[in-house]
């Protein structure tokens, strides 16, 4: 059973390293998509997506730096 757990964990780990970061990115994409569906023009939405990705990257790096600094 622990072998199966290890295999599933390894398989999942291939796609997701930091689950909080991955989840935040998924939420960002959902929010931007909803904004487009509600009428936001696509190009500003794409720019918002880029800015959001950079913001989330900064958040993730700061979190990691604080964790490693402890």
């Amino acid at each position: 059973m622990s072998l199966m757990r290890t295999i599933v964990s390894e398989f999942f780990g291939m796609f997701v390293d930091d689950w909080r970061f991955a989840l935040a990115l998924a939420v960002l994409i959902v929010v931007v998509t909803a904004a487009v569906l509600l009428g936001l023009p696509a190009l500003p939405a794409a720019a918002l997506l880029l800015a959001g990705c950079i913001g989330l990257l900064a958040w993730s790096v700061i979190r990691a730096a604080r964790r490693d600094g402890r």
Binding site: T33, A42, L49, L50, L57, V61, A65, R66
Partner: protein, 146 residues
């Protein structure tokens, strides 16, 4: 084969490099990484080809790319092995993020200024932002990261 000695490489790692088990583990790690990229290729082929009935053409293109990458890898693996691993991962991560933002934007219906050339601008924006974020993080922790 005796491993080449690298300056600054810990003696423990030097010992492990000649361990057969290290070869098997390296093989599994490489298998995992390439399998993941292979899954991405399948998704790209489906996204590019299936909606327009061009799956065969897209698959042929992907196969050709595999052959080219294999040849380039065989020719460049020695000089590439001198590039620090973290630097390689950083650049590849930036490229993947740029492609991801570009394609998600196109999926939302955005027409990026300059069409495909916008990829370079997105890459540059992510690279600049990443460099600034890392510089700030290094200053705040006083660490010497990648």
């Amino acid at each position: 084969m005796k491993p080449r000695r690298s300056p600054g490489r810990p003696a423990q790692l030097e010992g492990q490099a000649s361990d057969r088990r290290a070869d098997i583990i390296a093989g599994f790690v490489a298998f995992k990484a390439v399998l993941l990229e292979g899954v991405e290729v399948v998704f790209i082929v489906i996204a590019v080809g299936a909606t327009r009935g061009l799956t065969l053409v897209a698959s042929a293109g992907a196969l050709a790319a595999v052959v080219v990458v294999g040849i380039v890898g065989a020719l460049l693996h020695k000089p590439l092995s001198r590039v620090p691993e973290n630097t390689l991962k950083f650049i590849v991560g930036l490229m993947l993020a740029a492609f991801g933002v570009f394609w998600t934007g196109e999926g939302l219906g955005a027409e990026w200024p300059g069409a495909d050339l916008a990829l370079f601008a997105i890459f540059a924006a992510l690279a600049l932002a990443s460099w600034l974020i890392l510089s700030a993080a290094r200053r705040s922790t006083g660490s010497d990261a990648a």
